[in-house]
Every structure is written in C-alpha cells, then in structure tokens.
Subunit: 336 residues, 2 copies
C-alpha cells in the first residue's frame, strides 16, 4: 500500500509537501505539485482514511440507524427509499453513509452511541427505533446530532421529520365518513410507537368532528405486522358485524386486513371499505388497489440527511420538519 512517504521519496520532497500538494494547498510550487500528483497517480496512491480520521476529528460520515433488518421485512420498501434518499443527498455533499442496525436475534452488546463514537460519526438518522429502547435515551443524551423519523424531537441536539400524522389520519378517516361509514374500525400499529398515537388521534378527531362516538373496542393494535393484522381483523369483524370500514395504520396491515375480509367471505370494498397508510409499491397491486395515504420516504431520507448536515455544521435548522402527504384514492373504499 503506497503512502505519502513513498511519494515523497520518489519525488524527492518531504512528506509535508506531498500532503500539501495532495490537499490542494496553494502554497506549493505548481511544478512540484504536478509532479507529486503524477507520481501519486502512477503508483496508485489512496489516502488512508483511518490516519486522516485520527488527526482530523471528523470524517464526513452519517449513520442511519435502523431497528432491525428482518429476513422477511422490507416488503414495504420504506428502508430502501429512506436509504436512497439519504445517499443521494450525502453524496452531493461528499459525505458517506453507514448503516447500523440492532438485531433482535443476537442482542447486541453495543449501543448506538458506542457505534457512532467509535466511528467518529457526525450524526445519525434514526428510523423505527422504539422510544422505550434503553439505548435510545442514551443516544438522546449524548448530544450527537440526530434526526428522528416519525418521532417528535425532544432533546438538545435532535430534530425530527415526518408528515403530519394526525392530519393525515384524520383525512383518511374523514374519507371513510364521507362515504357514509360510521362503524369504522382502526387497525393501529405498535402501541408504544409515537406515530401510532398520532394516528389514533387523527382517527378519533375525525369521528368526533362528525359526531360519531368513538368505540374503543373498534381499535386494535397489530404492531405494523401483516399477519397480526390479519388475525386481529378476523376477530374484529367477527365480533362486530356492523363494521363496514377499516382504517389501517400501514399498508402492510391493510394487506393482512384484506386477507381477513376475504377469508370471511366478504368483499372489499362492497362489504368492507379499507384505507391504508404509506403507499408502498404493493398497494396499487392489491386486489382491489388500495386507497391509502401517500408519504414520500425518498424525500424524507433526503431531507433528513440535509437536516443532519445543518446540525453538524451548527447552522440554523428547523426542530421539526413536516412533509406533505396526500390521500390517494384507488378502489378499496366505496359508498355504504
């Protein structure tokens, strides 16, 4: 592996000069510089990042921290889109992105903070982390710049990005109501998730706005899991035959719900109307195509990275970024 020392020797100059030339300082003789650059090129010199990081304190790296990378996960394509948005922005400002994830299988002994500190990471984007994760708190305390996706920022060096989940859910539920539904169930996500609460609030708000009594037995939690949504929907529909519509807090759960409806020999949307959340690639291919709330995770990833960079550079930044959402009407909701 070639080093600046090798270049120095070959060029007959000191390593200092080589370093300066390589870093494009202006206090190097143009001829010397060219010579050095040529040699570097010739012997295939590549700077050693570890050495650079050791002496400079930062290393132009962003982290994306995920709650897990499950073998059967990813069907919603959310992580992919988040990731590509982040990469896209990071690349444009010459930053790199590393991905860190805690597995549910091996309980990792290492915390997020440890990972970030070990690697001199400037800041992190967090997705899918539970607020009751013990490591989460530590991260918040660490004053490492963090952008939280779908959790409102609280700590010092944190900010957040999401759509207006309450509003979006209100609109979704409202759509059902506009179609004359009054017995509307909600398949919510993980009880502990901040978004779940927001979406619950939007749901109840819509009902209240329309003078429909909120029935808490109509609300179930399926942890954003397709299978769980399937079984919970089965229970719900069997128990409350009056129910004619379902608001699902994710498209993956809507998929499970649809399956349950079919299993019960009912039809979507003729018997049961369903509206989902996220607009995942799958949703337009469901039978029938799913009416849902669209949110753009690519842009979310991009903005998150942009935001993170502002925080790292101590520039002014908005504490909470709210992105646009939109209701996408397809075929899974019909008039009662």
């Amino acid at each position: 592996m070639a080093t600046i020392k090798d270049i120095a020797k070959k060029a007959g100059v000191s390593i200092t000069t080589v370093s300066r030339a390589l870093n494009d300082y202006d206090d190097v003789n143009a001829v010397t510089k060219k010579k050095i650059l040529d040699i570097a090129n010739e012997i295939g010199y590549v700077p050693n990042r570890s050495a650079q990081n050791l002496v400079k304190k930062k290393n132009n790296t962003l982290a994306i921290i995920l709650s897990g990378l499950e073998p059967d996960g990813g069907k919603d394509n959310i992580i992919y889109r988040l990731l590509s948005g982040m990469y896209r922005y990071a690349e444009s400002v010459n930053y790199e992105v590393v991905l860190y994830t805690t597995s549910s299988a091996h309980q990792r002994e290492k915390t997020y903070v440890q990972f970030c500190k070990e690697h001199n990471i400037g800041g992190a984007v967090l997705n899918g982390i539970k607020m009751d994760d013990p490591y989460f708190y530590e991260l918040m305390e660490s004053n490492l710049p963090c952008v939280l996706i779908d959790i409102l920022a609280q700590g010092e060096n944190t900010s957040s990005i999401s759509i207006n989940n309450l509003e979006a859910s209100r609109e979704a539920t409202e759509l059902l109501i506009q179609h004359q539904h009054t017995h509307i169930g909600m398949i919510n996500g993980r009880r502990e998730a901040a978004v779940s609460l927001e979406r619950y609030r939007g749901y109840t708000k819509a009902l209240e706005n329309n003078k429909i009594a909120v029935n808490h037995d109509y609300i179930v939690y399926a942890d954003y899991l397709e299978d769980k949504a399937y079984s919970k929907t089965m229970d719900l529909l069997k128990k409350y035959p009056k129910m004619t519509a379902l608001f699902c807090a994710s498209d993956m759960m809507a998929l499970g719900a649809m399956k349950a409806v079919r299993q019960l020999n009912l039809r979507v949307p003729e018997d049961i109307s369903i509206i989902g959340f996220d607009n995942i690639p799958l949703s337009e291919h469901m039978t029938p195509p799913l009416t849902t709330v669209d949110q753009d995770f690519y842009i979310m990833g991009e903005k998150a990275a942009e935001q993170l960079l502002k925080m790292i550079k101590k520039e002014a930044y908005k504490k909470n970024i709210i992105l646009q959402h939109k209701i996408l009407e397809r075929k899974s909701v019909s008039m009662l």
Copy 2:
C-alpha cells in the same frame, strides 16, 4: 472523548496495561484489570476505531457494492434481502458491513477499489455491477476478495454465488411447454448481463429439447425494467398474434408484461400465460398471482458474507456456489 490515556491516569497505571486489560490479555493482574474496566465503564470510554485500524491492518469490515440506489427502485426487495442476509452473517462473526454505491446521476470520481482501500475493507460483495463497467475490471485486478452475485467468477481472488440460472430458465420454459405452448416469447433483461445470457440459454435449451424451433424475433431485451418490458411486450404481442406465452427474466418485467397484455384486451392466463423470475414480494399479489422462479436472496446474502470471510481468512472456499431455486406455480400459466 475519553482515551486510554485518561483511563491510565485515573487507574495509576501505564497505557500499555490499560490496552492489555481492554483487549482482555491474560497477562494482567485480575485486580488491575477489573479496576481498569470499571474506570473505562465509568468514564464511558469508547475505543477509537481509526486509531485501531491504523495500527492493526484490518478492520473487520465487509463492503457491499451496488450498482445504484434509485429513487424508484427497490421494489423487488432484492437489495434489502441481500443486505439483511449479509448483516445477519457479518454480525454473527463480529464484522461490520458498509454499503457503497455508484450513482448514475453524479458520475462518481471514486472507484470501488479506492473506496475499499481507503477504508481498509477486507472484501466486498458485488451486486448489479455491469461487467463492462470500467471500475469492475479494476476491482478484479486488485486482488481484493470479491464475491460476485450472478456473475461467474474469473479472477484470482474472486468467487461467485447464484442459482443455476440456465437450469431454472429451462425449467420455467419447460413448464410453459408442458402446458402446450409452442409460441413462447422471452422478455429478457440487460443484454450485457451475464445472467441474461444464462437465462437465454435455458430458454432455448427447453425449446430445443422439445423440438420447437427458436425464433429470435420472439426474444426482446427490456433491461429488467418494468416500463420497458411493458412497451416491448406491446410490440411483441402486436407483431406476433400467435404468441400464447411469455417467459420473463424478472418479476418486475413480468409485471410490465401483464400490464401490456391487459392493455391489449387480452387476459392472463387465458390468452397469454406468463412466468416470471425472482419471486419478489409483489408477485403473489399480482392479478393473477404470478407463477415464477423462486430464489432466496436472504440466503444468498448470508452465504456471500460467509464466503467472503473464508476468502479473507485464506481458508478453502468454493469458487462458485450454486443455490437452490424452485418453480413456484401460481395462477399466471394455464393450459393452451
């Protein structure tokens, strides 16, 4: 940021002893060790990876190199599954994974090799890289351990992993033939891709085995793109009304093909039978559910990482790993 120096001072020992204690050497007094560990814990010591990497030469990091991370991509979930498989294995042996990608937008000036060398990366898994990529050649030459997905290994320090694409394609085509189809079109992927050639061969082999003449006008290339498959299928079906079946080299292309069939007021499978390739999450939700060739990218990712580790550790390894595939019969193929 606390360093071993801080610990040493606090413990009243030399940094050497601290280093030894931290690295769990056995030539440290148990009492001393405990004291050091306690202090380290107390002041929240985290080792500096850059410093470690600088002195040790390797750094327990694997790279996964992708051809790109497109905003509208990822729908096939392949990268996600590859990634999670790799992470899963890497984690079990205490390795980290970094993701590197060349964007099509900004033409990155940095090569894969540069990236890997800069970061002291032990080895890389490559996916979706074109063989005519100029950087690809450089990587092969670099004698950095590489595992290629879906490209047969050629160089010194490279190996490959894939299913038997020829066989899988032959079986897929054979299935069509078993259903009495004789006018079978093929929607192939990128002309330059190694897999495309393999799949082409499997297709022709099946035809030949059954004494059906290969008609080269029946074969089109759609670069694994849904939209392109759509328009190519339109052309194909309009031009050759005798065609009754289509073998698509990816499920995403099958999706485009299905759309074209529908657009022409034909039905799948009554008028046109379709078989895909990959078994992406979407395929079972298509209308009708897609008959396809299943390959498990999670396992592929896992095996790739395992393989890479063997190469890095100079252990014996198989040059080409062939994984199992299987034909998944759903509803998109019917008897003529």
